[in-house]
Symmetry: C2
Subunit: 593 residues, 2 copies
Amino acid sequence: MIYHAPVNELRFALQVHGRLPEILALPSAAGLDQDTVDAVLEEAGKFAEQELAPTNRTGDLNGARLVDGKVLTHPDLAQAFAAYRDAGWLGLRAPADYGGQGLPAVVSAACEEMWCSANLAFSLLPMLTLGAIEAILSHASDEQKQTYLPNMSQGLWSGTMNLTEPQAGTDLAQVASKAVPKDNGAYAVSGQKIFITWGDQELTENVIHLVLARLPDAPAGVKGISLFIVPKYLVNADGSLGARNAAHAVGLEHKLGIHASPTCVMQFDEAEGYLIGEAGKGLMYMFTMMNHARLGVGVEGHAVAERAYQAALAYARERVQSRDIGGHSKTPVTIIHHPDVRRMLLVQKATLAAQRALYMQAAAAIDTAHGHPNADEAARAEAVLNFLIPIVKSWCTDNGTVLTNLAMQVYGGMGYVEETGAAQYVRDVRITPIYEGANGIQALDLIGRKTAADGGAVARALLADGQSVAAKLATVDAELGAQLQQALALAEQSVADILAQMTSNPELAAAASNAYLNQMGCTLGAVALARAHLAAQDALADAANAPLGEDFYQTQQHVTQVYFTQVLPQIHTHAALVHSGSPALLAVPLESF
Amino acid sequence: MIYHAPVNELRFALQVHGRLPEILALPSAAGLDQDTVDAVLEEAGKFAEQELAPTNRTGDLNGARLVDGKVLTHPDLAQAFAAYRDAGWLGLRAPADYGGQGLPAVVSAACEEMWCSANLAFSLLPMLTLGAIEAILSHASDEQKQTYLPNMSQGLWSGTMNLTEPQAGTDLAQVASKAVPKDNGAYAVSGQKIFITWGDQELTENVIHLVLARLPDAPAGVKGISLFIVPKYLVNADGSLGARNAAHAVGLEHKLGIHASPTCVMQFDEAEGYLIGEAGKGLMYMFTMMNHARLGVGVEGHAVAERAYQAALAYARERVQSRDIGGHSKTPVTIIHHPDVRRMLLVQKATLAAQRALYMQAAAAIDTAHGHPNADEAARAEAVLNFLIPIVKSWCTDNGTVLTNLAMQVYGGMGYVEETGAAQYVRDVRITPIYEGANGIQALDLIGRKTAADGGAVARALLADGQSVAAKLATVDAELGAQLQQALALAEQSVADILAQMTSNPELAAAASNAYLNQMGCTLGAVALARAHLAAQDALADAANAPLGEDFYQTQQHVTQVYFTQVLPQIHTHAALVHSGSPALLAVPLESF
């Protein structure tokens, strides 16, 4: 269960897909250079390997417990969190104005991959804190920012997101928690929230809950929902901690995985809360941080699969069983020699490379959208980001389940035994297609707001961009180039299909949305690996331009070949489903299921 | 977590795919008629629903434990087993000559689906006992049969299979356990066996271990392996139980799922054992029961997914969330209205129908192979069976993971919470692609012994048979007919591809074997559902010939439509992988993974 931080892979992905040189040239990255980024990756890798990775199984075996109203976690986690905080990792992308380091999203995404690989359940605590920081930074008053952000950016206080209620999951319009104005300008917040990750814990001095609730006179539906800060401990005027607020964890869920992270039922009983921004805009405020959160979940799905792959690879290199099929050996060989084991491993490796490329592209779009001085460039990046986010979130997390199961299969019977750790990856990763907007919701987002809303403009621009990559690829490898051109043509047809269905009958498009999303993920992944292939070609042609060594770049070209022949052919299935799969689904009477 | 035995689906599958009228006409089925079969299914369904299904979660929560050398399971399991035994269910397909009922494989397979849906972990105890019965019946001496089979057929004694050792999993040639002749004609069996399902327990009076071991002078490799009966308690000449034998469970695995069933490390310390048949033929003897066991595991993968589907469907009919996309409703609707939820449910339903069809075909082939008076017919059935077995085993179990995960996804966040039961199905089913020959081994079996060995004759015969079904289908529905013809043409091409690769470079075929197996499963599933479509068409045309009611047959036709548009398109991906996917895999140097 050792974890090796894939620092070289991350450096390569940062250059090729994260457009690091461009990002470092943005005014918002002033003072940061390539050497510093390299140093950050090295140190983060060490921290993930040495401090976090060893806590993964301990945390799984010793899940969070609710004892006498307190949420208790294993001491190893507290120790790891203290080390993480003290090393400044939490503040990596927290705002510099409030004690964070304000690093670009591409750099922090690379680090987040490593945190999530090392210990997914742990990583959710800083991830949610950063989400809360982002919401407060974007919408709260200066006084509120001063009160909460410095301590949160340093990891002294954590942040939580209280959205879901039993009757309001995907459908947040049903939120029923109430906030009644008090004499002191604050609000008395009451209600029950469920599925609150790290909703309470003893690792930080305070927990800052962001809570969706309704004012007494609020209209029904989403426009009546406001956002409140509800601290676990009230904060005195001098910044010291005051009274315990009536915000309590009253239950923990028994989950398939991520045992180390408490998933709380939170009870608010006239807890003191403070309105963020304007009343009625709570959901909109939450959505401003959704892109980063959804990108983060995509990284989670990817990261757990990366670690599972490493474990399966190590096992395949060590386990001796049966002679090789080619008959080269007279004695049993390590199972990595067996072609089907190679298939399982390389499908993982190739898919991981494509996933890393896509999340890096999305992170670069965040940096460009937020930091590019040219408004048109920033807007273009924002549009690309909006298109990529549901894809990164869903494709990397559905793949997460597929890939961790492939990793388990490499182990054979040993994979089913919990001690080897393969099972934990399968269990842990399974939350990622569910939370932060179930993948079905992501697919609806992709066909609606992200495709139909602009008449397919961004989708087509990305595919056109892909065509220029394919043209270059064809000059290096005619067959790969032709494959990519065919894939792009199929994707263009699917965009047209979805646009037509959205006009003629949106239910058809909705029934095809999952296939459309997977086709886009698979195709854009191929475009990205085509870019990687070309970059590797350049590096191999010029040793001075090949800092990671010849073998590394040759491996990237192998990875592209494997992806094109083993993963990309999935598009034929997806395209068929988008084109004509839905009518049969919709024709089945609901009582005939 | 209620389970509804799908008795009507099973009756339909028995008629159409299990060829029940033909099977009942075999001499081996003398005395059995349609009404009796219907009654058996009804009673088995009730037993599964009422006695077994409620023990599923109890067994999961209260896993087997090893205490003071005894393997303890939850009392509910003992009670359920006693009821199961007393009702005669264990003996359903046990030999009539030794106290069983000797029912056809098609009927017992239908019942086994229900046992496995109701409680997979429980079902393994009778399943393994039946495997041991089969091995003893086929290869042991008359005296051995008389000593063990009557009590085993009644479920008073259980049977176990002791094959795997730490260094000998897939590669049984590495078995190292020893058997040294004793003065009394018996053998002293010593060694450690792992992954022994229900290796010990307190539910039966005795446990009859079948153990692979080597005689002192045995050659290395598979030809040195012999099979021994090693009872937990020695059996006295009068049939009473004697001394405790030195065969002990010394450890239990901590597994991802099937917690109720103990997976034992078995230690044999000069335990008294009795040679079955001839020395050196142990592995061959084991293989004679392998077909039935592998069919059984395919049924397991299918059955757990069936129950997961039922649970997800019930949730989707009950959970209210968001308005419908078509805008027909002003208020939130049950989530079954949402097209992507319908997709998830119907892909499960359609795949389940195809799986049930394939395992029924295989079971009918067992009955025909064993019972047909015409030797040619029997041999033909045997060949079909041999081809189908790796497909049923792998396709139904890999699908098992996919389908149970789809079921969990329907639940959203509630699916990740153990209390809803969706997680248990995901955990339990995951053993099925691993044990009884990992699915990679099944795929090698399919390309080698089952395809290349006869030059593709059986494969092509099955596909030719499919073409005649497609021709009939085309007269009823031209589009479905054309789709099936296209699928069969692709499958024929893949047979040719595999045969060519087996000749040119078997490693290419091995790397493509998984895709080939999945393509065959997917395509033969379509042929089967085409048959179902035609049978439903006949029933709908003649009410006198429609015992299950008009709605039932209309639903079967919907299921075929969904399968053809949502599941069958996977063949395009599989065919591409078979045709040209392997070279890139094999080109990657092992050190570059």
